[in-house]
């Protein structure tokens, strides 16, 4: 008998709009020493599924049916006190975003030893000793100093290690990890995955690993379960599923992963007009104590008309600050930015407004960057009106509808509001808004990282088409090397505020010179 045996798990949500079926008849087993990967796009029910196992979903609105037998106990029907003795003691959980999943008001040492004290009544001194040991085990150096830190005082990677330590301290038999590396940089992700793998083998525990990222699942899982809209579409040994997917949905997921070089039809035959945008010796710093925080140090680069430059680096490397300085959302401390040989750094408010017509930004999170109180029509019409590109009501109407059509939005959606759309549709709205003023430069800050792979593929194609058609130059910021390889002509690698390597995409990826570029490439999972 398996350690965990889930059969016919069905989860409905009773909402005001009626019953929504989130998980439909899902069955799986997990044994000691193996990792079950659950993969699917957002809304496919992966997280709901695992939260339901631990009865962490509020009921109502959720209605849960089925069986989930863990070592002889049905988790779904056991008494609350029985369940509490399993939670945190025999089943540990790791959540997606360690920043929000850790209590900000409590020192991390206290949080880690809490399950020990709760389930085993471990005396404080011993609990402290065990906490130090486990912090060491998950790779936190100087654990004595970290015990008394608060979550916000640690880096993202460290916080996730704390989360893992907290889940493992009671030596559980089953570990449920819900997107544990999604919020992390690639190099940190690689470390955390290696750590989980090693811990699992050493302790011979069962693990359920949820992710939307196929590379991650491929790396860590022994078996994989593919979910689509709450239904199980495929289940099997990991290698087998990835090598020969049976279901169409699995195939489409695998196909959607950006692979290989930039398609030749988007590549320029002729050398492009250089120095369309040039940045010379740019530095940006933010006030901080005791010394100002230098976010960008002495960066110089230039982009040709119609060229796509990929800007790559880990969080905090200064790529977003640099991008925002181009549209003067952040001011340069030193250096100069020129667009078509005109300096942007010395413009006054009015001139800047005019100049911004040529440069538009697309932001990472289409959920946060669109005004929730404006309709799609108003969002796209605003820049047109602002820059006087549509003077009559009729021409405005025509232009907005044409733009919506161009980015693949249906005309009858014009008067709906952002919350009525999916992530991919919202990013299309953001793109329509950006291209409305016919810009010559688009700065796209992680435009696809909040999106599912299939949507991501569509948005990338849209961006490439638009840039190609209108000779728009683009600075494409991403942490995902596969995506950058697919869209960019050249890549600039940033580390700690500096550009450490800059070169043609294929040359740079096949033959990296700088040690940091090599580290990034090594951490890549594909």
């Amino acid at each position: 008998m398996s350690l965990l045996d889930v059969s016919a798990l069905n989860i409905d949500f009773n909402t005001r709009e009626g019953v929504i079926n989130a998980v439909n008849s899902v069955s799986f087993t997990v044994d000691r020493g193996e990792t079950l990967g659950i993969v699917g796009e957002s809304g496919s029910g992966k997280t709901v599924c695992c939260n339901a196992l631990m009865r962490l979903l509020p009921t109502p609105p959720a209605a849960i049916k089925g069986r989930a037998v863990f070592d002889g106990v049905d988790l779904l029907t056991s008494s609350e006190s029985r369940l509490r003795s399993i939670r945190g003691r025999r089943i540990g959980m790791i959540f997606q975003d360690p920043m929000t999943a850790l209590n900000p008001f409590m020192r991390i040492g206290q949080q880690i030893m809490e399950p020990l004290q709760l389930h085993y009544k471990t005396p404080k001194e011993l609990a402290r000793k065990k906490t130090l040991a486990i912090l060491q085990e998950v790779g936190i150096d100087k654990p004595e100093q970290r015990l008394d830190c608060y979550a916000h005082e640690l880096s993202g990677g460290m916080r996730q290690r704390v989360m893992i330590a907290m889940a493992l301290i009671t030596e559980p038999d089953l570990l449920i990890a819900d997107e544990p590396t999604t919020a992390l940089d690639v190099t940190t992700q690689a470390q955390i995955l290696a750590l989980l793998n090693e811990l699992q083998q050493r302790r011979n525990i069962a693990m359920i690993f949820i992710s939307h990222d196929l590379h991650v699942i491929k790396k860590i899982a022994t078996r994989v379960l593919v979910l689509q809209k709450g239904c199980m579409v495929e289940q099997g040994r990991c290698a087998q599923v990835f090598a020969a997917p049976q279901h169409d949905y699995t195939k489409s997921l695998l196909d959607a992963i950006p692979k290989g070089k930039k398609p030749t039809r988007y590549r320029h035959e002729q050398p492009l007009a250089p120095n369309f945008l040039s940045i010379t010796n740019a530095s940006i710093s933010f006030p901080a104590k005791p010394t100002p925080n230098l976010a960008v140090k002495d960066v110089s680069l230039s982009i040709a008309r119609g060229e796509i430059l990929g800007l790559v680096g880990e969080s905090g490397c200064g790529k977003t600050s640099l991008a925002q300085s181009l549209v003067r959302l952040v001011d340069l401390e030193q250096g100069e930015i020129k667009l078509k040989n005109k300096s942007l750094t010395s413009l006054n408010e009015k001139q800047l407004r005019l100049a911004r017509k040529d440069m538009q930004m697309i932001f990472q999170d289409p959920f946060a960057s669109l005004n929730p109180r404006m309709s799609i029509f108003e969002i796209i019409a605003e820049p047109l009106k602002l820059h006087g590109l549509a003077t009559t009501k009729r021409s405005l109407n025509e232009k907005v509808l044409a733009l919506m059509c161009e980015v693949g939005l249906e005309a009858n959606w014009a008067h709906q509001y952002p919350h009525q759309f999916s992530g991919g549709q919202r990013q299309r709205v953001a793109i329509a808004r950006a291209i409305a003023v016919e810009p010559q430069l688009i700065i796209a800050d992680e435009p696809v990282s909040a999106l599912d792979v299939t949507i991501q593929a569509q948005i990338l194609k849209l961006l490439l088409d638009l840039c190609w058609q209108y000779s728009i130059s683009m600075i494409f910021i991403s942490h995902d090397l596969a995506v950058v390889r697919y869209v960019a002509d050249r890549i600039a690698v940033m580390q700690k505020g500096q550009i450490v390597e800059l070169g043609n995409t294929e040359a740079l990826l096949t033959n990296p010179q700088h040690s940091y570029t090599k580290t990034l490439l090594a951490a890549r999972l594909s």
Partner: protein, 307 residues
Amino acid sequence: MLKFFAARLFQAIPVLFVVITATFFLVHSAPGGPFDAEKTLPAEVLDNLNARYNLDDPLYKQYLSYMGNLVQGDFGPSFRYSNRSVTEMILTGLPITFELALYAMLIALIIGVSAGIVASIKPNTAQDYIPMSLAMAGICMPSFLMGPLLVLIFGISLDWLPVSGWGYAPGDKILPAITLGTGYAAYIARLTRGGMIEVLGQDYIRTAKAKGLPTPTIIYRHALRGGLAPVLAFLGPAFAGLLAGSFVVETIFQIPGLGRFYVQAAFNRDYTMILGTTILLSTLIVVFNILSDILTVWLNPRLTLKD
């Protein structure tokens, strides 16, 4: 922290200056004067009185001399009670009002926080609606209704507690404190509920549940500190409000506190007394707001004091 406190107090000086100046000219421009009574005084007596208190000087001169005295810590003599200074009267009234406010605050916190927590555990159920409706009733019920009602029930019908006074009979402080505290208890209940519901929806509460913690532990160890943040922010202004707003309660229960002086001074056009109490109350409001800010920062490790 001391530096922060001093800096914030220093920033409050212009505010206090504006309050004092505005109050000074407002009270002087109000019709009537401190020596108007039902029986009109003979003209020469009035002239003498006005001369003694410098009320015959031009207004700007009076203002300058008042401000001059104030800087030296002198609030001036009371115009109405000829032998007593404003400082003296404030010092007799303030401790009583302060004590009343303190008890009222304690009652408000105990009732408010517990009702708020109970309501937040199961929002939008009877467990939420009942305490919250009571809270709404508490907010709506003015103290001039609440006070007599309590007196009628506990003082007269049941004869459990004295109906008035302050420190004369055992238990005579209970009813005024409850009367003054109820309205604030209701606000605190609503703030607690809101804060707790927000915190209970956070991811780290889910983490605590996944650890196997029982609900009471989750509430007091993981949720309360964050959930009470709005209450903490409200405490400073609330305490200042209790001090300033105790007039009705003091009148109902015959308590010789500051609130009564304040309102009587306004009726009597006792200029120095009005100004004295106004300055005192606005200073207290400023100080309690600063204390409230410090407390908020102290309880939230993510915040630091910046001046």
